[in-house]
């Protein structure tokens, strides 16, 4: 499914890290999110150095790694996922970079030269399992050439994050390189649920409003109310991670806990917030 199309109406984009606490439970959670109104899924592939994440998502990543989640398991999981919304893979560049090096190959070339052939194999495999695009927080436009090319080859989108600090030429270049949507970072810092919507949000949206690409706002969104405000401010989508991971973090007995129910409820709150915002936008004040 074309990623950009998912934003025809303002979209709710939940994030979860795959493998926390297990791949099987992630499946239940994802289904709950879809039931709750998810329009796009950002699914994290856990990496050992999640430098763009705050404590909540870090914790989730650590649990997923401790559960032994590997890129291959991730791909199989997405492959077997029976949902009707596009999936975006969120991870860090080293995992793309390493993918496809067999251990044998690595051992035969301990010097590290030519051990890696870049992100090509990873993208190929992602395409195979039906992934629509990528968000790679440690890959700025400057270093994205090889991945952009591989994505183009395989018809995948590459989503860039526009930070409050992004301006001028860099902004131009990033918008140019971005496909699917623009990830508009609502505040400086790292991921994490906050009680208010940053003042930055409107300014950030304003500076990209002229570009013809869907804009999804993330970093710190935690309530339906916030989601509504963001959409009212002109966003085409709202990305929510930590507020959902907070629910996952409370998981208990795999057969008995109510995490899926609570995830679904939270997702519904958020997606309804998005929808309410969209409705208001149809009114006069709308841009």
């Amino acid at each position: 499914m074309n990623l950009a199309d998912a934003f025809d109406e303002p979209a709710f984009v939940p994030y979860l890290c795959v493998g926390d606490p297990s791949v099987e439970r992630t499946r239940e959670y994802v289904q709950a999110l879809v039931r709750g109104g998810a329009d796009v899924l950002e699914l994290g592939l856990p990496f050992s150095e999640p430098i763009a994440e705050g404590p909540t998502i870090q914790g989730s990543v650590v649990r997923a790694l401790e559960a032994g989640t590997t890129p291959e398991q991730y791909f199989e999981f997405v492959d077997s996922l029976d949902v009707d919304v596009p999936v975006v893979c969120m991870t860090y560049y080293n995992l793309l970079y390493q993918y496809g090096d067999s251990e044998a190959q690595r051992a035969s070339d301990a010097s590290g030269e030519a051990a890696s052939d870049g992100p090509e194999s990873f993208v190929e495999r992602a395409a195979e399992v039906g992934i629509s695009g990528f968000v790679i927080p440690d890959l700025p436009a400057e270093e994205a050439g090889p991945l952009r090319a591989a994505c183009d080859d395989h018809g995948l989108d590459l989503v860039f994050i526009v930070a409050p600090t992004t301006e001028g030429d860099r902004l131009e270049r990033m918008v140019e390189l971005s496909s699917g949507y623009l990830y508009v970072q609502a505040r400086l810092g790292v991921t994490g649920a906050k009680a208010d919507v940053s003042d930055q949000t409107e300014a950030s949206l304003a500076k990209v409003s002229q570009y013809d690409i869907p804009k999804a706002v993330g970093f710190g969104v935690s309530s339906g109310d916030q989601a509504r405000h963001i959409v009212e401010a002109g966003a085409d989508g709202v990305i929510v991670g930590s507020a959902l991971v907070d629910v996952v973090a409370e998981h208990g007995d795999p057969d008995g806990d109510d995490v899926p129910e609570r995830l679904e409820a939270k997702a519904r709150e958020l997606s309804e917030g998005v929808a309410a915002g969209a409705e208001n936008m149809a009114k006069p004040e709308g841009q």
């Binding site: 705050g54 080293n94 390493q98 090096d101």
Partner: protein, 431 residues
């Protein structure tokens, strides 16, 4: 954007802050403007001495830091190895290690840039203390991130940072060591990027850090190269430095890179074994140059210790300053091009060299630096007739752990430490 180094052309560096296939700027978008601002400031102040930055830096290095540090002929080591052995005495720099060269440079640069706050990561605490000292000296508020485990292991350095007025922020993620502290400092920087400068502790991280840190540290080889020629009348046949991130290494090598007759040895921590335990995701070593593979860590493409998926593994060394899974991209490149020879020594050899230098030269080296000595000691035939070994720091910070580690092993030459029991027994007194 291609930079000329301060002291002439640099053969190892390509365009855009890469060194061959290594380097780059793999950082969150929020940091890119800061990284670029830093590139500009580096070019302006450090490379072009605008506003007299370089003059002030050198003056402060001298008056506050105690530069130049001596190059000392090691009389007994020379006898023992039957060749001329010179020691570059970075252990005498203020703070007790080469780290101040970089910390002072960066804090001063932050001041020139109008930044109002410093953050830094630290593992063993040496970079943290150097940064805290520089920040106190230059009146800059400073916060240092440090793993909870390292905080407990390195109490004296934590005290020193606090005494210098820095905040120390405990990081409990992961094993609570350096790698996590770097991650956390990056997160702080990404949050407070507008008024904050991140003083990174080695020749790692996104461009321009690796080049900039190396430029600040190159004062080591600048001095050593002149000193050895003055004292011995010749260039050395070899130069030896330990390598964690590689800042003392690049600092000690840089001015010799163009001297083709000089062999350069980067000594990594072999730990207890060179293998990686895939099961536990732990490498009982920190030998990323010798055994690592190419990847992206902390903002740069470089050689690192990782599992087959690309997750970074925990490194290990008896010396916490070498205990890092990555290495500077320039050093990785110099190894690929065979200009630098990567070697390693294990924990036992490093401890033995620590005792050797302490007993025979009256210099208690940092455990990091003891790795360099250990390599020289075990491989004299590779050194040629005259070698310069960098003593990157002093061992005061390592006393407790050396005593402990020594007790657990059979080491040549280690002195007994039953003195405390004897003193407590209260016999003593009288002849």
């Amino acid at each position: 954007m291609s930079h000329e180094t301060q002291r002439g052309a640099d053969e190892t560096e390509d365009r855009d802050g890469t060194f061959g296939r290594y380097g780059g700027q793999y950082v969150p978008e929020a940091l890119m403007p800061a990284v670029q601002e830093l590139e500009d400031a580096y070019e302006r102040y450090v490379l072009n001495n605008v506003d007299g930055f370089v003059d002030e830096f050198r003056r402060r290095l001298r008056d506050f830091g105690g530069r130049p540090t001596p190059l000392q002929r090691a009389d007994r080591l020379s006898d023992r190895l039957d060749r001329e052995v010179y020691l570059k005495r970075e252990d005498l720099l203020h703070g007790g290690a080469h780290k101040l060269n970089n910390a002072l440079g960066q804090v001063l640069l932050a001041k020139y840039m109008g930044k109002e706050r410093i953050v830094a990561e630290t593992g063993a605490g040496q970079h943290g203390t150097a940064t805290a000292m520089a920040a106190a000296h230059l009146d800059m508020p400073c916060e240092v991130y440090m793993g909870t485990r390292d905080i407990q292991r390195q109490r004296p350095n934590v005290f020193r940072m606090r005494l210098n007025g820095s905040e120390v922020n405990p990081v409990s993620a992961g094993r609570g060591t350096l790698k996590e502290a770097i991650n956390e400092t990056m997160r702080d920087w990404a949050t407070n990027v507008e008024d904050t400068h991140y003083v990174i502790g080695s020749v790692v991280g996104p461009h321009p850090f690796p080049e900039m840190v190396r430029t600040f540290q190159s004062v080591i080889s600048e001095e050593a190269r002149a000193q050895v020629q003055e004292q011995a009348g010749q260039l050395p046949d070899s130069v030896v430095a330990c390598a964690g991130g590689g800042s003392n290494t690049m600092g000690t090598f840089h001015e010799f890179v163009g001297d083709e007759s000089v062999d350069l040895f980067a000594v990594e921590a072999g730990g207890s074994s060179l293998a990686v335990d895939e099961e536990t995701g732990v490498a009982p070593n920190s030998a990323s140059l010798s055994t690592g593979t190419e990847g992206v860590l902390h903002g740069a493409r470089t050689k690192l210790l990782q599992d087959s998926d690309g997750n970074v593994v925990e490194s290990h060394s008896v010396s916490s300053g070498l205990d890092y899974a990555g290495v500077g991209p320039e050093l990785a490149h110099l190894v690929d091009t065979e200009r630098v020879t990567p070697v390693n020594v294990d924990d036992d050899e490093a401890l033995e060299a620590f005792h050797l230098l302490s007993q025979e030269e009256g210099i208690i080296p940092a455990l990091e630096s003891a790795h360099a000595v250990a390599f020289a000691r075990a491989n004299p035939e590779q050194l040629g007739g005259l070698t310069v070994i960098n003593v990157s720091g002093r061992g005061d910070k390592d006393l407790e752990s050396v005593i402990e580690e020594t007790e657990n092993r059979e080491l040549e030459n280690a002195p007994g430490m039953d003195i405390f029991e004897r003193a407590a027994g209260g016999s003593g007194g009288g002849l």
